[in-house]
Symmetry: C2
Subunit: 470 residues, 2 copies
């Protein structure tokens, strides 16, 4: 393992004379990584590479103290600097409304960035291995991803390097045993609660047993092939971006009309890039929205509100303008086709609307939040949906709903009866077919297409984005 | 479903005036497809689209007769031609040494090609649906694949169209029930014996239950994104191919030296394309070999035998020459690094060599053939392997092997004792480290690095290519 790193991997990842910050949790992966890198600094001293260790004491487990001491002792023995940060991530997570893991991760990276500046390190080494890579690729595949996501983690990207990315956990444990590297086991990684843990502890072993005994290597290789493709396309997109985009004084991003001549691989990425620059949403623009904008080609005047922005097609090109929904005043205007089995985010609401067949309902219920708002429709709606006329949209002039024994009511009347404030009425998403409104989520479902017991049912669900499961 | 096909999908897939051959097994998918296409020819008669049905009577199941009658009756009712082919694929498969499914599939496509010519059809419609697409993508992911494979099946490629690719099995069954379309159920698809059936019947439902209730749609979408990328890169590769390749009078394909300046996404595909043109092997060149040729950059004089061809780096460029091993005379010359957890095909032998850790052995045994040839090495070899010095190669001047209590013997002596014919000696693959030969598969293992009971073990296995599992 050391020989492979010394000969082939580390010279590629670490330029001579570099000072490298090593993130050490105290587990076998990061302890082995530290040991390997330290050997490299000693045995290849002519390269002038040096290391600094950094450790985060999470303060939630009893073993945390002992781990910090173990890391510090090792650093002292090797005579390398070791920074230790103490942090109660749990309290932090509660106060920020994030998950523990997310919060801890963000906080760690922020500290490491500071440490690197302070210690003059230009690279940060993390101990991700082939098992982590396989898990990441499967996780992204299950959640939905394109080439960029399925490419997995990069051995080197920006200032982060992952020297162990092509080695298995077994290689690492074997190295620790052979070189008598001490380590602590992190129990929280052994609980199949988080989706990623379940992938690691249940799905990957099952795939290994029943489908491909070398699944980790296979996925790692797929990641490498896709990385080649993504790197190539990214370079092409960069050139295309310079060619097509310009920005006006209000921060609106425009793409020239010619952009539609680009093949889908390039066009879709340019749209995502424009959206990300406007909304600052790192997750980017979902597939449904990308496809919607692509379909706007040749329809000048087309305009659509999407989460965090409004997209317009003018004679000059595609405009991406930031929406200022924080003010709560500006009327939204969107019309999003709904497809059975798919979910879309509703602009300006942080909510997601899903259209599902009844038989998928059990699995959804277990994942989504209790406060779901649900409407159940009959199979007659199926005909509507397959004509693609069912939409989630904002209020329109003349909107009405039909109720049994009553007939049609204006939407205004329905809102009045439900005591919905005037300024909220223009922002509530509506589910409608071509003719009229079928459901105001959280307010009222019309009498049209209501399911009776014998029908095959379709279910429309409103969830908060946070509660979205993979 | 019909409305979506009529409005958005079929006009894209079928040009006006086209005669379409529809492959009908008699199952729900192909019966629904026939019905949908027939409706389209009737309701959109101005487009001048017509259909012809073709059915293969496999003659292995009792229900086969009834299915053929059902398809013919439907065709008669609609007044469209219906071709029926009768074939005992099982006997065919036995005589050809292929699996039943492979043989049947090849035979079917050959018949359809003939039928299309005979009936003047320019398109063949198959009934693959979203479930098939998800299964295909997972199958390829588990077997190992890049962008091209993970892109899944195409809705339209060459003369094949797949109109139902974005619909689920449930959509299809629902359509059959609603329109009273008769169909037969194919029981052989319900047995989780074949890997693909296991993916459909076990893995996909498990992923749907535990990870993503919309996994089919998610995978279908991933396929679409990757298809965009693959189509784009394929176009770039086509241009690069014209720029770099030339062919000499002996059929050798050459790529100009500059080809190494291309990014990995393009270079790897050019290498695969050159190899495929020389060997006619539709599966293409494995990752290991692609990486090997890529690593030859800057080493003029480098040469390597690979399955079905020899690749040479000269001052002018990379040469891919077909090897004529059929003659059995020409000496081979290859040296392939072995990596733990990986398998490589041995040039000119139709055999595969795998290097595995002991704990993977159980899963391998169940998959591979009984006639495996196996050598077991001790953990000392691990050190050799991690130095990347273990290779599978052809015989070299001065080759020797070490035996306990005897010392070194020349390879010639070992061959003589084992009564290996002279002309075979240059073709038998050898497993060796940098200094000497460790194992002649099927002949003898040396005394070096032999495992004793306490060691962690590495296993080297020789299998035939046919017996290769996913």
């Amino acid at each position: 393992m050391y020989e492979q790193l010394r000969k082939y991997i580390l010279p590629e990842l670490i330029p001579s004379g570099t000072r490298v910050m090593v993130a050490v949790s105290g587990g076998p992966d990061s302890m082995a990584l530290s040991h390997l890198l330290w050997r490299y600094t000693q045995e290849e001293s002519s390269r002038g590479v040096s290391i600094v260790l950094t450790h985060v004491h999470h303060g939630v487990r009893r073993e945390s103290d002992a781990e910090a001491v173990m890391v510090q002792d090792m650093a002292k023995k090797w005579n390398v600097p070791c920074l230790v940060h103490r942090f109660n991530a749990k309290r932090y997570a509660e106060s920020m409304g994030q998950s523990f893991q997310e919060a801890a991760r963000e906080w760690r990276y922020a500290r490491w960035k500071e440490d690197m500046l302070k210690e003059g390190c230009s690279l940060l080494a993390t101990a991700h291995h082939l098992g982590d890579q396989a898990e990441t690729i499967l996780y992204r595949l299950l959640r939905g991803s394109g080439t960029a996501g399925l490419a997995g983690m990069y051995p080197s990207k920006g200032s982060i390097i992952r020297p162990l990315l092509s080695f298995t956990k077994a290689d690492i444990l074997n190295y620790c045993a052979r070189e008598a590297v001490p380590y602590a086991l992190d129990d929280s990684n052994q609980e199949p609660v988080y989706v990623r843990n379940r992938i690691r502890l249940e799905l990957l072993p099952e795939l290994e047993r029943s489908y491909n005994s070398r699944i980790q290597e296979t996925l790692g290789r797929t990641g490498e092939l896709l990385r080649w493709d993504e790197e190539y396309i990214t370079r092409q997109v960069k050139a295309a971006w310079d060619q097509y985009h310009y920005q006006d004084s209000q921060g609106t991003i425009c793409l020239k009309l010619d952009v539609f001549k680009e093949p889908a691989a390039i066009l879709s990425r340019l749209l995502r890039k424009a959206a990300m620059q406007v909304t600052q949403e790192p997750r980017g623009l979902g597939f449904t929205y990308v496809a919607m904008i692509m379909a706007a080609q040749g329809k000048p005047g087309w305009s659509q509100d999407l989460p965090g922005m409004r997209v317009k097609l003018t004679d000059e090109g595609l405009q991406f303008c930031r929406s200022h929904i924080d003010a709560g005043q500006k009327a939204l205007n969107y019309k999003i086709p709904l497809v059975i089995g798919q979910s879309v985010e509703i602009p300006g609401s942080g909510m997601v609307i899903s259209l599902l067949k009844e038989w998928n309902l059990s699995s959804v219920n277990s994942h989504t939040k209790r406060e779901n708002k649900i409407a159940v429709f009959s199979s007659d709606l199926l005909t509507q949906v397959s004509k693609q006329s069912l939409v989630c949209r904002t209020r329109q002039e003349g909107d009405k709903m039909w109720f049994k024994g009553v007939g049609h009511k204006s939407l205004k009347k329905v809102f009045q009866e439900a005591k919905i404030a005037d300024d909220a009425r223009n922002r509530i998403p509506l589910i409608a077919d071509e003719a009229e409104v079928l459901w105001i989520p959280g307010v009222r479902q019309s009498g049209l297409y209501r399911a009776d017991n014998e029908d095959e049912k379709i279910v429309c669900i409103l969830t908060s984005r946070i509660g979205r499961s993979i």
